[in-house]
């Protein structure tokens, strides 16, 4: 898979390798496409739908994170419609759970918060769901707050693909979908968790955090996970 192809992103001709996704090519060339569930080093799942782009000749919008490039592909990363849809998606994420930045350890370092700021989401047009959700603080070092979870599954993939433990998974359907640890046992009682903490580093919001930090204090070392993954792949 080293075939070189030329693609056009927002009018600019860019050299890429066949098999790379649109998102990978764009990021490698400094082109911004928003994404939340995508993380370098993890498999792409196309769940957040923020990276939808227009591809000429294709009537439908396509997710940049899972669509491979091919010779001659021409991509539009932004348009009034895409912007409107991205805004809606961000608003939907904000109303789905109880995101209260003022009391969040990740405020100021939160990918959802950044996305909202970047896309001018200063208010939401949909009523809040205000679900009653739990906080799992059973693990000695980490805490999982479902109120802040966006179900991006980055923790699931990090644990399964990088650490190889597969502690995390998704349970339930639709709006009732919940992140669960090991057969729905509390995190602290998990027998497979190695307490490596990579899931916490991968989490884009304050849903997973190290204990002991106050509001705005938790910064995450996402690059660690990506770097680990690329080292492993290199082996």
């Amino acid at each position: 898979m080293t075939e070189k192809v030329k693609v056009r992103i927002d009018g600019e001709v860019i050299a890429a390798t066949a098999g790379q996704t649109i998102l990978e090519v764009a990021r490698a060339n400094g082109k911004y496409i928003p994404a939340l569930c995508y993380m370098e080093g993890l498999s792409a799942v196309g769940a957040c739908r923020l990276c939808m782009v227009e591809v000429s000749g294709v009537a439908r919008l396509l997710p940049a994170c899972t669509t491979p490039v091919q010779e001659g592909l021409a991509v539009n990363t932004s348009s009034p419609q895409l912007e409107s849809y991205r805004k809606i998606a961000i608003e939907l994420l904000l109303v789905e759970r109880n995101h209260v930045c003022a009391v969040c350890v990740s405020s100021g370092h939160c990918e959802l918060q950044t996305l909202a700021q970047d896309h001018g989401v200063t208010y939401v047009r949909y009523p809040y769901n205000f679900p009653r959700l739990t906080v799992d603080a059973t693990h000695p070092r980490y805490v999982l707050d479902h109120n802040r979870c966006v179900l991006c599954s980055r923790c699931v993939r990090t644990c399964a693909e990088v650490e190889g433990a597969h502690v995390w998974d998704m349970a339930g359907r639709g709006i009732q979908t919940r992140l669960v640890s090991e057969l729905q046992r509390p995190w602290g009682e998990s027998t497979t968790c190695t307490s490596c903490g990579k899931c916490v580093q991968a989490c884009p919001t304050g849903a997973m955090a190290e204990k002991g930090w106050g509001v705005e204090e938790m910064t995450k070392k996402r690059a660690v996970v990506s770097r680990l993954s690329s080292i492993r792949e290199g082996q």
């Binding site: 769940a47 739908r49 439908r60 919008l61 998974d169 359907r173 639709g174 709006i175």
Partner: protein, 1051 residues
């Protein structure tokens, strides 16, 4: 018996034929899930024990379903040498008679004989049953089957699904055998490609192309998957196909297996279909035992096996990548494509997934060739599609029709049209991911492309018909509720977007949404459609988006008028009767008050809801009757005649003055605002009455010398005695309404003058212009329009009517004219161009006209009127019409024939409709619609000029009294709100304390109808025909009400 060569194959076929056409009678009971659910098991056992008990030589077998669900249980009876008889609605008590007849060559009782089949084309084989039974219609002469082309359902309901020998007898596994002998896989793929067979699961991808991808994919391990995870509510064609004919599915998969190089087939079938699973497993077992499936298929060295996997009921597992995940024991969640299953499918191996029905088309295409297949259907969509026609049609069931058949054919011809005379509103195609197509688009041909253009989809072939009782907002809400709970939760638009859409739709059904929500819902649904990961999310918004496109007014009604016309959204309606009443009378309240023998309170309740209760009690079209839930027990409550009696008891008695006083007590403080009303018909009077009650100073202008409009000048005395109307108008006058008669607004008084003198103006001049048909002879003496005729009659003037009269038309004016002419002693014939059921007049009135001796000629259109040399009418010639195709109103279009009938007559009354006076509209300077009516805002009723409102027939075109009054009432509410800045109409109603519990024992008696003067006597006079209910009957009738208005009872 292992089939390893052709001799063995032939032997099995002979054995099968001996079972299908034994030398003795054969009785086959339709025992699909549908038949069993309707009692087929009991019928089968009754046959079985009776045959045993009598020691009869009769072969009894279970078969699948022939598709006519509304007529289950279906039973086939065949006697050697005779046609196959199809019996319907067979019950165990019929068994005796059927068996008795068998021995003596008698037919079963006629009420259970549906049709006969003389021979049947199984496509790969042909069965000749025999000829005879000349009185029994052929199967395709039954409207439900007429036009159906059975390819997929070729064997369903005719062969025993549990017997592989019967399948082989009708040509089964021949196509497979041929493919194995020919050894030309690429040729078969070319055949499938040339046939243009498209995936029947909904997306419509070309099957041949998919097979080619798989054939070209590398690797020894490839999989074929049959998607039998049929999850659309209301769709059950796949279940029936598998239950009735499992081997056709196996054969299709095996052919594909051979030509694509796959060695394993998996049928992913819903666990909710236990009978289908059972029959499939038995079929697989038999196929293995006969050497049709296994290591050496039919002795041709081909290895193929099939297994079933039961799906656990997740709707999303119908999506192919989720289905694969489920097969691999993962949670059923879709993943992004590419890679496509043909590249990387089950266990990472190349995989091809086709819907059940797609597989059923394979063997016939191989057997009969692609050219045969492409001749059926439309150019882009070849072949047939099985639809499950369900919902509000008379005949429901599985219907296999060629692509390109118009929707009208399904709904009106095959389905038999609406149930209980209801008008059909829409059809929802494609299940929860499909869209709603309105009735005025039923000329749409059904194929993948045209449905997509309308925003719907073919889907798996669900067709849910909806009538006026279905609320399109609620329908959209229902489907979103379904897809929202079936969303896998992986991607944001589907998981959260559908949840939000559902909450917004709930707001519409509760009436709490705002007008901004329509645009917001539309935008959100587009986002979900355009950005969701899989087909579920991408198509889930279709019901909402199509409803917003075709039924936006219903969404608006819910939030702007707080009304659900269908009466489904309970928070927006008191009871079905109240909801259907154009005046929204609180019907349960007056019935209860009357039942409590509080006549005066009952009257007050009635009169505060409806200022002309005695008149409407006589002439209303009573839509309440059609909605009454008592009709589910026996017959609807006769609400109209009860309020007529309540009104008569007061208006025509010495209670009148007292009650005028009680109404006056409800009048609000004078507001100092003045309103002008132009037109003293039912609309104007109603508006005037409410505005006066609300304390405004009201003046009504009318060009005629008295109030009442059509009620006075068009309705004959025998239907509405003027003395009754006079009392109602007197009450309105005593509330302070001022009348200015003989004033023609627009001539003596300009609209500008009226506008300057009043704070608001309401225009309600009605439709006084007779529509005219242009045909030769209308200039002759003796041709008269209906309205002037009726007006002259009611004014007691002389009318130019001769001895024999022909009335053209089918509306109430036509019937009134005919009955009036009868009273003048004329012979009367009514000529109508459509069928009787299509006549817009009240059915009771048509009947009454007949009783009074009027002759009715249907399906006849006027051709010309013939005159004598003096220019006097001598006869009318009418052309016989025949019912043609259904038009978008759901009625058959009359098509002229060559037959011309001449009816001798000296008078022709034209009653073909009324319209708005165009001169008035033109002079008003207000915006006029194309139909000639005034344009107003749908909700405020304001015209293009501020403070000028319009209502009644002037905005709707000719309608009826209660509709007109309903608009008058709405206008009063809107004008008052505009003048006073608040909602005040509810203040008029006092607190009537009355029992708010449903009756423990509602009256058991049937519906009471008023007595009538005998027909012979009534044509002699103008006295009222209806005698009204007696007090006893009305009391009994009010006790029949089930009190749908009671929501909760404290225990």
């Amino acid at each position: 018996m292992m089939i390893q060569d052709f001799a063995a194959f032939s032997a099995v076929r002979e054995a099968g034929l001996a079972k299908l056409l034994p030398g003795k009678p054969r009785i086959a009971v339709g025992m699909g899930t549908c038949g069993s659910g309707n009692g087929a098991e009991a019928v089968y056992h009754a046959f079985s024990s009776e045959i045993d008990a009598r020691g009869l030589a009769v072969q009894l077998v279970p078969v699948g379903c022939f598709g006519f669900c509304a007529e289950e249980p279906l039973v086939n009876v065949w006697v050697p040498g005779h046609p196959l008889l199809m019996l319907h609605q067979v019950q165990p008590n019929h068994v005796d008679g059927i068996l008795n007849g068998l021995g003596h060559g008698h037919l079963p009782p006629p009420e259970i004989v549906l049709c006969k089949i003389e021979e049947w084309d199984h496509l790969a084989g042909h069965v000749k049953y025999g000829t005879g039974y000349s009185d029994v219609p052929n199967w395709n002469e039954i409207p439900f089957f007429d036009g159906q082309v059975k390819i997929v359902l070729r064997n369903c309901g005719l062969i025993n699904p549990d017997d592989i020998e019967e399948y082989i007898a009708i040509g089964g596994y021949q196509a497979l055998y041929k493919v194995l002998i020919d050894q030309n896989p690429a040729g078969v793929i070319e055949q499938i490609k040339a046939s243009k067979l498209r995936g029947r699961g909904g997306a419509g991808f070309l099957t041949g192309n998919k097979w080619e991808f798989l054939a070209k994919a590398a690797g020894p391990e490839k999989y074929l998957v049959c998607n039998a995870d049929e999850g659309d509510p209301g769709a059950y064609m796949n279940r029936n196909e598998i239950e009735s004919d499992p081997h056709s599915l196996l054969e299709g998969m095996m052919i594909a297996g051979y030509v694509t190089g796959a060695s394993k087939g998996i049928i992913y079938v819903r666990a909710e279909y236990p009978l289908a699973v059972l029959r499939l497993e038995r079929a697989i077992e038999h196929a293995r035992a006969y050497g049709v499936l296994g290591d050496n298929v039919l002795g041709r060295g081909f290895k193929f096996d099939i297994e079933t996997v039961e799906g656990a009921g997740a709707f999303v597992c119908g999506e192919e990548t989720a289905l694969i995940a489920s097969l691999e024991s993962h949670a059923g969640r879709p993943r992004s494509r590419p890679p496509f299953p043909a590249q990387k499918g089950l266990y990472g191996k190349p995989t091809n997934i086709n819907n059940v029905e797609t597989w059923y088309n394979v063997a016939p295409i191989v057997a009969k060739g692609p050219a045969w297949f492409t001749e059926i259907g439309s150019p882009k969509s070849a072949g047939t599609k099985v639809f499950s026609l369900v919902g509000k049609v008379q005949s429901t069931g599985l219907v296999e029709m060629p692509f390109g058949t118009p929707l009208a054919k399904f709904i009106y011809d095959i389905g038999g049209g609406g149930t209980n005379g209801r008008d059909i509103k829409a059809v929802q195609t494609g299940g929860p991911s499909g869209g709603c197509i309105p009735a005025d688009m039923f000329d749409t041909p059904v194929d993948y492309e045209t449905l997509a253009q309308l925003g719907s989809i073919m889907g798996s072939g669900g067709m849910v018909v909806m009538d006026e009782d279905n609320c399109m907002v609620d329908v959209a809400r229902y489907f979103i509720e379904f897809t929202h709970s079936e969303s896998c939760g992986k991607c944001v638009p589907c998981r959260v977007g559908l949840d939000k859409a559902l909450r917004m739709l709930n707001g519409f059904t509760l009436g709490t949404a705002t007008d901004k929500d329509i645009a917001a819902l539309d935008e959100l649904c587009r986002m979900v459609r355009d950005t969701s990961l899989c087909g579920l999310g991408q198509s889930a918004p279709n019901p909402v988006l199509t409803s917003l496109r075709h039924f936006r007014h219903e969404f608006e009604d819910h939030i702007l008028a707080k009304r659900c016309r269908a009466g489904v959204c309970e928070d927006l309606a008191l009871s079905p009767c109240e909801n259907s009443c154009p005046l929204h009378m609180n019907i349960p309240r007056f019935l209860q008050l009357y039942k409590e023998e509080r006549v005066e309170d009952a009257f007050l309740s009635v009169i505060l809801d409806n200022p002309l209760p005695a008149s409407t009690g006589r002439v209303c079209q009573h839509p309440c009757d059609n909605r009454c839930r008592r009709a589910a027990v026996d017959e609807s409550v006769n609400m109209r005649d009860v309020h007529r009696l309540i009104a008569d008891e007061v208006l025509l008695s010495d209670k009148f003055d007292t009650m005028v006083g009680r109404v006056l007590e409800r009048r609000q403080e004078p507001t100092g605002r003045t309103v002008a009303i132009v037109g003293a018909g039912p609309t104007g009077l109603t508006c005037a009455y409410y505005l006066a009650l609300l304390g405004h100073d009201v003046t009504v202008y009318d060009s005629r010398p008295a109030a009442g409009g059509m009620l006075r000048y068009a309705l004959p005395e025998y239907r509405l005695p003027k003395a009754v109307l006079d009392k109602e108008i007197e009450l309105i006058e005593r509330l302070g309404v001022k009348f200015q008669f003989n004033v023609n607004v627009g001539e003596q008084l300009t609209l500008n003058d009226v506008g300057q003198q009043h704070d608001a103006v309401f225009l309600a001049i009605g439709t006084w212009k007779e529509a005219w048909v242009y045909l030769p002879g209308t200039e002759l003496t003796g041709v008269i329009p209906a309205l002037p005729f009726l007006e002259a009659m009611s004014r007691g003037q002389e009318v130019p009517v001769g001895k024999s009269v022909v009335v053209i038309g089918g509306g109430n004016a036509a019937i009134d004219s005919a009955r009036s002419a009868r009273r003048l002693g004329a012979d009367v014939t009514i000529v109508y161009r459509r069928e009787r059921n299509d006549m817009p007049a009240i059915p009771e009135e048509i009947e009454a006209a007949e009783h009074e001796g009027a002759k009715l000629v249907y399906l006849a259109a006027p051709h010309r009127i013939v005159g004598d040399k003096n220019g006097q009418v001598r006869a009318i010639e009418v052309v016989r019409t025949k019912p043609g195709e259904f038009d978008t109103s759901g009625r058959r279009r009359p098509v002229p024939t060559d037959e011309v009938i001449r009816i001798a007559c000296d008078t022709v009354i034209l009653a073909v409709g009324e319209k708005v006076d165009p001169d008035f509209c033109a002079a008003s300077g207000l915006t006029i619609k194309e139909a000639g009516t005034l344009e107003v805002d749908r909700y405020s009723l304001e015209t293009s000029r501020e403070r000028f409102y319009a209502g009644g027939d002037l905005i709707t075109g000719a309608s009826n009294v209660s509709n007109a009054m309903g608009i008058g009432k709405k206008a009063a509410r809107n004008i008052d709100r505009r003048l006073m800045g608040e909602e005040r109409v509810a203040n008029l109603i006092p607190d009537f304390a009355y029992q708010m519990e449903p009756p423990e024992t509602p009256s058991q008696s049937g519906r009471h109808v008023p007595g009538e003067m005998p027909a012979a006597k009534r044509v002699q006079s103008y006295a009222e025909v209806s005698l009204g209910l007696t007090v006893g009957a009305a009391l009994e009738e009010s006790a029949r009400c089930l009190r749908c208005d009671v929501r909760s009872v404290e225990s």
